[in-house]
Subunit: 356 residues, 2 copies
DNA sequence: TCGTATGATGAAAACGTTTTAAATGGGCGA
DNA sequence: TCGCCCATTTAAAACGTTTTCATCATACGA
């Protein structure tokens, strides 16, 4: 009894020792117990509806918000989503767009987005191990999957919630959002063919990534259907510095039977290709054409004559965020955890967008 | 006595209920008290050196790492740095570069980087208020300051540690990292003049931001020194869509005395300018010149004839991170909390880089 | 031999939550 | 009237740290 008898509504005592209102503050004001307040705020059915409302009102009045550290300590949930940032993502705002999307999905939830950059250019399996072992997040998002991605395997084995940007060829299904790069490359290449181009070249993603294979597959399917000459430009890929791509194009043009149509997996690489061709005295739309994947507004304005197919990275991020939340909430229904975005459809009409 | 007598080294008991080793685990293994273990790991001088080593070894062996939530709850420190992400930062990887730099500075420390995107296009004063009130981070980083930036005022008043990318004109000094945009614009414009250009135009930052003023000031100083004709292109700025800039250039060229030299504050805007001029039948390096600020490898490779002056955003981020850590650690020495990066010097030779 | 300074360790409380288990009191059937 | 159940509410423990204060040898000067 002598120990801490309830101060019975200490009136205007607004906060605790640190100055921030806590459950205890609300308890003192309402005359309820901390337990009750906690339950009321959690909307527990066992608390009477009047009490719930009263508590909520007081919480609002004094500007209460729960202490994340305490919640995390008690529940074991971190309320954190981690995104692995790759060096390649610096270019053209890939990372920023995706993160903006993720953040959008996380808006209004208790989740925060933390960024874990991968400095070592290694596969970031160590970072993932670290995150799992120290339970630093409730879920993980990363991009650029490989067909047999060791990161996916590690996470799957540990039952750690994650979503990838990109698919794998692993037996066990896992949550992902992916852009249909096959269709992209197929359609892009067909557009070149429709423009009358017959000697086609592809600048694809870096070898080893699943999406690079999809792009090549789409390209190959289109050129074989049409029976065109084709080549996949060696020594360079989407991640190559623009200068390297430009030089490669110049070199290629000096050789026999240069391409007259380019399927480019990215904007920078399209610009670099144009630069190289311009240096050789060729004009886009006249002697050759380009169809490129577009992920920003840059290309459309700079080079309107580059035909593009759009990939909405912010939407991708938003989908990944939503799917991850579902996964964390316990969903195992793979249908609502996987999403293949269609190059044609705008964001609004995508299925998962209306799912919740 | 009956209560919890020490299990005296329960041998191979590796972890707690949740499966993660804790201080208690180490305490049980070593036979020490939790207090002692905590102190040993904190390298407290009162703990004998042998004990410290032994504890550290055991911690290493069992893969202990402290629970952030518990630390945070107890100490009130979050070990989190928040960075406010602006919409404009999607373009050309500004945000990603800066974040990569910040993360680099945070590497090896206990700090995590969390991203708070600013969706409302408003001044993000609300987000900052939220961060302060709920003590969601130990420090804050944001960019694009205004001369009388209300965010800076709010944070200063609350004594909340922060670093800005950009200066203000407020009376009370605050930590910042800034690029010397005056010198950039001054030198850029002088280069145009040196190339013989005499009708100069500027595409500056959006009105209202401090750095836009600096750029204009540098530009004006150079053109007045040389007595050239000049103009600051109205209706557009660095943040304008590339298409808008291109159109504006075309329109301007249709009028009297079009410019023959452009000082561009960014790469996209330089490319858009080139596009507009090309549309008017003009060739870069022949009829006109451009000097632009470069923040990526894009422009150099695409348009080598654009003269550029480099701003290293990753380095900027790294400096901001380091300065913020100093500030959080309690430094009030304004000399080591402010840094004006010189356009000429490469990163390695900057003062703050060697400071620690 | 005693008291005390010293160097090392330990017990317990606290941070703010959630959760398990228990208490309270009224209503109701028998 | 009694016992029981239901609807609410509460007490207390726990999550894993850090920190305040206390304990305990041991050594030391007298």
């Amino acid at each position: 009894m002598a120990s801490r008898s309830k101060p019975v509504s200490s009136g205007n005592s607004p906060a605790n020792s640190r100055g921030k209102p806590t459950l205890r503050t609300i308890a003192d004001i309402t005359g309820l117990a901390v337990t009750t307040v906690s339950r009321a705020l959690a909307n527990a059915p066992q608390i009477s509806i009047e009490t719930r409302n009263r508590v909520r009102q007081v919480a609002l009045d004094i500007g209460y918000s729960p202490d994340r550290a305490a919640q995390r300590l008690k529940t074991g949930r971190t309320n954190v989503i981690a995104v692995l940032l790759e060096p390649h993502e610096e270019i053209l705002g890939y990372g920023t767009s995706v993160m903006a999307g993720i953040a959008k999905a996380l808006q209004g939830t208790a989740y925060h987005l933390i960024v874990m950059p991968n400095f070592l250019n290694t596969a970031n399996i160590d970072a993932i191990n670290y995150i799992i072992r120290n339970s630093m997040a409730d879920g993980l998002i990363f991009s650029r999957t490989e067909p047999l991605d060791p990161r996916v395997m590690l996470l799957s084995e540990n039952g750690f919630p994650f979503v990838t940007h990109g698919r794998t060829e692993l037996a066990t299904a896992h949550p992902f959002v992916d852009y249909d790069n096959f269709t992209f490359a197929y359609e892009a290449t067909r557009r070149l063919i429709a423009k009358g181009r017959r000697r086609l070249a592809l600048i694809s993603g870096p070898a080893g990534y699943t999406f690079a294979g999809h792009i090549q597959h789409g390209f190959m399917t289109a050129v074989r259907e049409a029976g065109c000459a084709y080549e996949i430009l060696s020594d360079i890929d989407l991640d190559s510095p623009a200068g390297a791509i430009r030089d490669r194009i110049r070199r290629r043009y000096a050789e026999n039977d240069p391409p007259d149509g380019f399927t480019c997996g990215g904007e920078v690489c399209a610009l670099a290709t144009i630069t190289g061709m311009t240096d050789c005295g060729l004009t886009l739309g006249l002697e050759y054409d380009i169809v490129a994947k577009q992920t920003s507004q840059l290309l459309g304005a700079i080079q309107p004559r580059v035909d593009t197919i759009y990939e909405d990275l912010t939407a991708t991020g938003e989908h990944m965020g939503r799917i991850l939340l579902r996964r964390i909430a316990g969903s195992t229904d793979i249908n609502e955890l996987q999403l293949l975005l269609n190059p044609e459809l705008p964001f609004e009409t995508q299925p998962a967008s209306v799912a919740d």
